[in-house]
Assembly symmetry: C2
Homo-oligomer: 459 residues x 2
C-alpha cells in the first residue's frame, strides 16, 4: 500500500484523500494542513461575513471528525517547507515552530493559491489590524469579522470587481456598511462576462446602494486620523474605515518549483490530465496547478473550486495506481449578487479569436417561462459560436434569482463538453411546463438566434 | 414554390408554417384550424382555470395577427374531412357547414390527439352542460370555466392522476373547490415517475387539501338530484358538482388512416425521422404521429408539446425540399404541483428491461445547494443506468420549486442525448455558488451514488 502524503487541506487535497481511502481502505493518507481549517468552503466566506451563516464552523464541507472517520490523518498547523525529492520526504514546521519531516511513497501538492496584491502603496505596511484586509483563507475571514466586531466601521472600500468582490460587497451592505467598489478595468466581472452583461451587474449593485466605480485603479492607501484613505489616479480619493483587496490570486507553487517541478502558465505547476507533475510520484491538483481546458484542448490557469474537486479525486485515484483522466474545465462559473444571477461557460469572443477560432457572439433576451404565467422574467443570453464549424464555444447568462440561470448555464456546459454545434442545443429534449419554461427553452431560443444570425438560410 | 397545406393549428402545424415561411417567404402556407384557437398553449389551460391567467386569450403563443404577419393563411373553423391523395386535395367543412376543398403540393397532417375516455358508464350521455368535462381543447376549457362561473360548484372529482390531472387539481383548489383526485393505478404520474417519488407528489396534494385515492377506478357517473355521483369498485362513491376526466389521449389519426397512410404504435401515424408518412408528399408531426425515441433508437408514442414543436419545424423545412432529421425525443417532462416540482427524462427501469437493457436504479437525496446557506432543500433523484455499459438511461427528480429541478433534469437530458455514461455526469464542468449549488452538483452526487452501487471498485 503506498503511503500517500498530501500537502494542502482544501478542496483538492481532501478530495484526493477521500478518494484514496475509498479505493483502498488501508492506504495511509496524511494531509498536511497549513492552518486549523481543513476542508472549508472558501466560496462560503461572504455568507459568513454577511451574517447569513452565523457560525463560521458551518462553512466546513466536512468536520474534522468526519474526515478522520474516513481514515485520513490530518496534521493541522503543519506548514510544508521543503520537498526533498531524492529522499521522498517533506519537511514541515508544525505547531509552536516544531520542525519535522514526513516520508512519502506518493505525494500530492495541493497548496492552492494565494492573493496577488496589486501594486498599491501602503498595502504591505498596513494590515488587518489597521483595517486593510485581503480575503482568501479562514484566518483572513476571522480577522475581518473580528475587525468588524471590534471597530466602528461605517464605510468600506472594496478593491476588485471580480466575483468575490461582488459577493463581499453584498455581504458588507447586508451588514449595514456604506460601500464603494473599485475596479481598475472598465467593467465588473472582467474575466467572466462581456461588458454588455456586466452593466446589468453594475446596475444591480447600484440599486442596492453600492457605489461602483470602474476604470478606477487604487494607487495608495494611508491612515488618516483614525480612518483610512485610498487614493486613485487623477487625485480621486475615498475615506473609509475598511479596505478589502480582492483582486485575484496566483498559484502557490513555490514549494513545487523549489523541488524541481516544472511550472508553466502563470507559474502554476505543470500537470498532465492524470495530474502528474514533472517529478515521478509527485502529483498536483487544484489552484496551485494548471488546468486542462476541455474546449481549448490545452492547459490554462483557472483557479476555481469545482475543477479542484475533480482534479483532487483524479490525483487520489492515480496516486494509488489508477489511470483516471481529468476530463477538463470549461471555466463554468456562476455568481449571485443580490437578486441577480450571472453565469458563464466556455470562452468569450476575444479569447476565441486568440485561440484561432472565427467566433461570433449573439445576444438574446428571452423570458425564463411563458409570459402569460405570473413572474416571468427576462434572461439575457450571449451565445458564442464558431462561424466556420458552428461549434458552440461559450455562453453567458444573466437574470433574476428565480430564472434558474445556474442550471441553464449547465445545459450549455454539457453541450460544450460533448463538442456540440450551436444548433444542436435546439435538438435537446428539454423539460417544459409554463411556470418554469417554454416549449423552446430560453437556452434554445438564444441558440436559434445565433444560428439565424450567422447563416444565409436560417437554420 | 410548393403550396403547403397544413391540417391542424396547434404546436406542430404552426411551427411548420412558420418554418416554411421563414425559409421561403413566398411559399403558400395554409393552415386549416378546426376551431377558433390557433397556436394556443394547451399546457397553459390549468393556469387559466386557476385564475392565474385571467384572460384565456393570453394563452395564445402568438396572436392571429402575428401569425398572418408571418405570412401564413389561417382558415379558422375549417375541419378537414377527407384527404384525396390522388387529386392532392383536402376536403373540409368550413364555418356554417360550408363544404369545400383545397389543393396541395405538400401536405402536413398535424391533427394532434384527442381524449381517450376510460370505460365509465354514463360518460357518453353526460356532457359539459351536466358538469362532466374532458379537457383538451380551448373549447373544452371555455366550457369548463363557463360551467364553473354559472353553477354552484363546491365539490369536484378529477379522474386521472397524470400531469394534467395534478395541474387541474391545483387549479380547482386555487378556485376554492373541495377536490378528490382518483387514479386507477396504484400511484400518481404512473407514466412519468417511479412509485418511490410519486408518493411525495401524493403527499404534496394531501398537504394542500386534495383527497387523493389511487388504485381507484371509476365505473359509472350518474346525476343525483342536482349533483353528480361517481361510483367506483366495491361500492365506493363520491358525490360532487363537477367531474373532470383527464385520463390520457390517443392520436387523432383517422383522417390519415383513411387516406391510406400507415399507422403504427397506438394507431399513431407512422413517420420516419424526416417526418415523412407512407404517402408521398404527405408529412405528419406532433401528437397525431409516432415519435422517434433517441435513446431507444426506434419510434414510440409520446404526445408532448416540446417534440411537437421540433417535429413541426422539421416537417416544415422538409416539405420545402429540406433534409432535416428530427433528433428524437427522450420523453423529458416536468410538472409543478403547488410548491413541488417533479421531472423525468429517458426511461424507467421497467421500460429498460423491456428494451433489453440490464438496468439498475439508485435513489439519492441531495441538497439543492450548500446546507450552510439558508433555504437549502433536498432533491430526491433516481438515476437509471445500464449495468453492463454504464450508459445513462434515465433520471427522475423531485423537490421544491426553489430547487431548479426543471433545469437539472435538462442536464441529464443533455447527457442522454449525447449517449453519456452515468459517470460522465461527474465530469461535467457545472456551475457552483453556495446559494445555488454545490461543488459536486446534486445531479453529480446522484450519478456518483449510482456508479458506486454498481461497481465493485467505486468509481
Amino acid at each position: 500500500m503506498p503511503n500517500l502524503v498530501i500537502i494542502g487541506g482544501s478542496d483538492a487535497g481532501i478530495e484526493a484523500a477521500l478518494r484514496a481511502r475509498e479505493l483502498d481502505p488501508i492506504t495511509d493518507a496524511t494531509v498536511l494542513v497549513a492552518d486549523q481549517y481543513p476542508n472549508f468552503s472558501i466560496c462560503g466566506i461572504p455568507y459568513h461575513v454577511s451574517g447569513e451563516v452565523p457560525d463560521w464552523r458551518d462553512l466546513a464541507h466536512r468536520r474534522v471528525e468526519d474526515l478522520e472517520a474516513a481514515g485520513m490523518r490530518l496534521l493541522l498547523d503543519h506548514r510544508a517547507e521543503l520537498i526533498e525529492v531524492a529522499d521522498r520526504r517533506v519537511r514541515y514546521t508544525g505547531p509552536n515552530g516544531h520542525e519535522g519531516a514526513i516520508a512519502y511513497d506518493q505525494l500530492l501538492i495541493a497548496t492552492g493559491a494565494v492573493p496577488q496584491p496589486p501594486p498599491i502603496a501602503g498595502l504591505h505596511s498596513l494590515g488587518p489590524g489597521d483595517g486593510v484586509h485581503m480575503l482568501h483563507s479562514m484566518g483572513d475571514t476571522l480577522a475581518l469579522t473580528s475587525y468588524l466586531a471590534e471597530h466602528q466601521v461605517t464605510d468600506a472600500v472594496i478593491v476588485g470587481g471580480g466575483y468575490i468582490g461582488l459577493e463581499m460587497a453584498e455581504a458588507l451592505v447586508t451588514r449595514g456598511l456604506r460601500l464603494t467598489l473599485l475596479e481598475q478595468l472598465p467593467q465588473l466581472l472582467p474575466r467572466t462576462l462581456d461588458p454588455q452583461l456586466a452593466t446589468h451587474v453594475e446596475a444591480e449593485l447600484g440599486h442596492n446602494g453600492v457605489r461602483v466605480q470602474t476604470s478606477t485603479a487604487v494607487r495608495s492607501i494611508e491612515q488618516l486620523n483614525s480612518r483610512l484613505q485610498a487614493h486613485g489616479e487623477g487625485g480621486r480619493s475615498w475615506i473609509c474605515d475598511l479596505v478589502l483587496v480582492v483582486t485575484g490570486v496566483k498559484p502557490d507553487s513555490d514549494l513545487a518549483a523549489k523541488a524541481g517541478a516544472r511550472v508553466g502558465i502563470r507559474d502554476a505547476i505543470a500537470v498532465d490530465q492524470r495530474m502528474r507533475t514533472s517529478i515521478d510520484d509527485v502529483w498536483a491538483a487544484g489552484d496551485c496547478a494548471e488546468t486542462y481546458h476541455r474546449l481549448l484542448a490545452t492547459n490554462t490557469y483557472l483557479p476555481l473550486g469545482t475543477p479542484a474537486h475533480k482534479q483532487g479525486r483524479v490525483a487520489g485515484e492515480n496516486a494509488l495506481g489508477g489511470h483516471r483522466m481529468f476530463a477538463g474545465s470549461l471555466g463554468t462559473q456562476v455568481v449571485r449578487v443580490f437578486d441577480l444571477v450571472a453565469a458563464a461557460t466556455g470562452i468569450r469572443c476575444d479569447e476565441a479569436v486568440q485561440q484561432g477560432f472565427d467566433p461570433v457572439t449573439v445576444e438574446s433576451e428571452v423570458d425564463d417561462h411563458k409570459a402569460y404565467y405570473p413572474g416571468a422574467t427576462p434572461i439575457r443570453i450571449r451565445v458564442t459560436g464558431d462561424k466556420r464549424t458552428h461549434r458552440l464555444l461559450g455562453a453567458q447568462l444573466i437574470g433574476r434569482r428565480s430564472a434558474e440561470i445556474a442550471k441553464r448555464v449547465d445545459i450549455y456546459a454539457g453541450a460544450i463538453h460533448h463538442r456540440a454545434r450551436v444548433d444542436e442545443i435546439c435538438d435537446l429534449d428539454l423539460s417544459y411546463t409554463p411556470p418554469l419554461g417554454s416549449p423552446w427553452d430560453a437556452v434554445q431560443a438564444a441558440a436559434r438566434a445565433w444560428t439565424k444570425s450567422v447563416t444565409q438560410v436560417p437554420s
